[in-house]
Amino acid sequence: MLTSILSLIQAAVVFGTVIMLGCIGEILSEKSGSLNLGVPGIMYIGAIAALVGVFFYEGAAENPSPLLCVVIALACGFCASFAAGLLFSFLTITLRANQNVTGLTLTIFGSGIANFFGGSLNKLAGGVGQISVSVTSDAFRTKIPELSDIPVIGPLLFQYGFMVYFAVIAAILLQFFLSKTSTGLNLRAVGENPEAADAAGIHVIRYKYLATCIGAGITGLGGVYYVMDYIKGTWANDGSIEKLGWLAVALVIFTTWKPKNGIWGAYVFGLLYWAYYYIPGLNRSSQEIFKMLPYIVTIIVLVVVSFRNKKENLGPAHLGRSYFREER
């Protein structure tokens, strides 16, 4: 019993980390008013960029250094996702394209390009499932030594790769940035009322670009973690990254745009998502009902938040709209 609860929690934490990274990246972006629905696509792009990067490094180096592997994976994933965010920003901020359409297109584009390169990579490696970036994957999955050996607490808190802790720290830092710093205040102003921000001398366009691109970069790290830890350094064309991407978007709403809620929210989503696996007596069809739980919870949260009608809990007022100074 205890072991199965422990393994449920572990699965939830690993799952939660993927969507937590996706969620806080998206929060940063949405706080500037950019509703980027390209989260799944960006995760795809981050994942494949990291995989390609380390695949060639590990293939070329005699003795791949684990540290360098990690750095390459993170750098490739972040930069590629940042570039995807830049594309989104250019289309929606500079050209003022519709954010919903652009985001959805980015999702389709990201999944297409990632699966194209994933397929090519499989071919290079000599067949599906043959990709091996074991050094990188192992580095990502290294547990904290000693601490992880403590009974119960060890497996519960310390038996994860470093990205799990990185995600929590990133969420705390983002929370601090948004609520305590003046730059964070300015960023929130841009998402709430860009006209007022503009009149106060804030460079609205610059803030939107930076928040959207860095947000996309963080989101992409979720994809890196997914491919390196969650599926252990392989490539699968089954679209499961996309599912997690949409859950990350749902999680943004669930957290009412507060990164600190993203920490526990992501794990709750993980628990709900994996619950079916640990509940005895479910057949294939009833499993699917349980898999819907995260979405149902999000809807309930939305309803509750709307009922309470507290302005701070709603999204940024100018979310999803483009800003043009001379429009009146």
Binding site: A189, N193, A200, G201, I202, K311
Partner: protein, 514 residues
Amino acid sequence: MEQQTAIRMQNITKAFGQVLANHNVSIDIRKGEILSLLGENGSGKTTLMNMLSGIYYPDAGKIFVNGEAASIRSPGDAFAYGIGMIHQHFKLIDVFSAVENVVLGLRGKDANLKLAAKKVCEICETYGFEIDPGQKVYNMSVSQKQTLEIIKVLYRGADILILDEPTAVLTPQETERLFHVIRNMKKAGKAIVIITHKLHEVLSISDRVTILRRGEYVGTIETKDATVQSLTEMMVGKKITLNIERPQVANPQKRIEVKNLTVMRQDGVRLLDNVSFTANSGEILGIAGISGCGQKELLESIAGLQKVSDDASILYCAPQTDASIELVGKNPKAIRDLGITLSFVPEDRLGMGLVGSMGMTDNMMLKNYRRGHTPFMERKEPKELAEKIKEELEVVTPGINIPVRRLSGGNVQKVLVGREIAAAPTVLMTAYAVRGLDIHTSYTIYRLLNEQKRAGVAVIYVGEDLDVLLELCDRILVLCAGHVNGIVDGRATTKEEVGMLMTHLQKEDGRNAV
């Protein structure tokens, strides 16, 4: 004592496309002085001041700040020169607290919330404001928001304050409090400009008045030498003869009778206050007033689009049967189902009147889409109507199926007016029917309105050009801040009389004492 000049604007000209918003305007703003900038709507007051606050850049002319030539290209530049403008539409973030709004966009020590809260309290003490630095903006009243805007500007060290129609949204008590603060700022040596069109405020607060008319500088006088009459004359100018036809009223009959009509905005401000009047058949009733004085709400109340007070009554007197029908509480469909044809040409032509992305035919169908009895559209009739309107009103369009958005303003208006008239209304309401139209099209509209008048329709014409109102309308109802300030005979009245009624509330009744 000689007062120092804070700002001198010299020969400023600014055009938007073909329209000259300011033409060769020169004004002086002095330290320790309150200057009123007076003029009708569209006289270029706000445009002129926006060039000081960095929103617009002048096409020609020079600006001197404290004697030195200045180039103000952004709101940031304006702050650097110590110029702060309080816009009519507040630029505040709703979910932020007062002090968070104050420090927005600032850096370093200025952006420290604790220090800022302290400084805000100091500013409040100096000038006699009251505000809670931690209060969220969405919990604030309009006057608190305005106070916050003023504090925001003072916090940034402005010595020159421009207030754009600051009293438009305030109650008399709040206005008094604002004036008290403004006088304190004047004592502290700040230069203050108030943009307004309310004469009694000009007389009560300012030291000098500068008057603009249609973008041109008319003159500057000392307030102590000014009277309501002299200011009105300078503001509205001499009467211009337009030679608009005005047929005699034949057989007028009561058609619409409005009694005790009050419309409240959500925050309790009265947009229309106890309005009563009648509109007769075969007559054009003009409605004059500074824009935003309740014209829109008045027409929308009759059309069944506004929520009105419980004791209001809008009676429709049917032409043949003389039956009186209460329109309050009925939506446009209910009114139409009673067999009453009210036609409404709204101010917002492509927003409320027509669908911009649809052609003329489809727009005609909006009015009678309910007539068909099959799931399919019957396009024949509307198509004929569209053709007819195109021909009779000389609508310039490549074809009746071209989206009306692509037509010029005048042609859009012809389509809209044509459709509304084609419904054979008994009441025709038009809001700013000739706004933005050229002379020729304007006269076409006047002709159409007169035709309807002859046909026995009760025409209500909301207008902004006093010369047109004086020549076209049989009676003119003048609105001032939601009140009926008077109903005058269009043939007997003068431009000065209407101008006075528009800008000077006749009686200060106890509407806030309630």
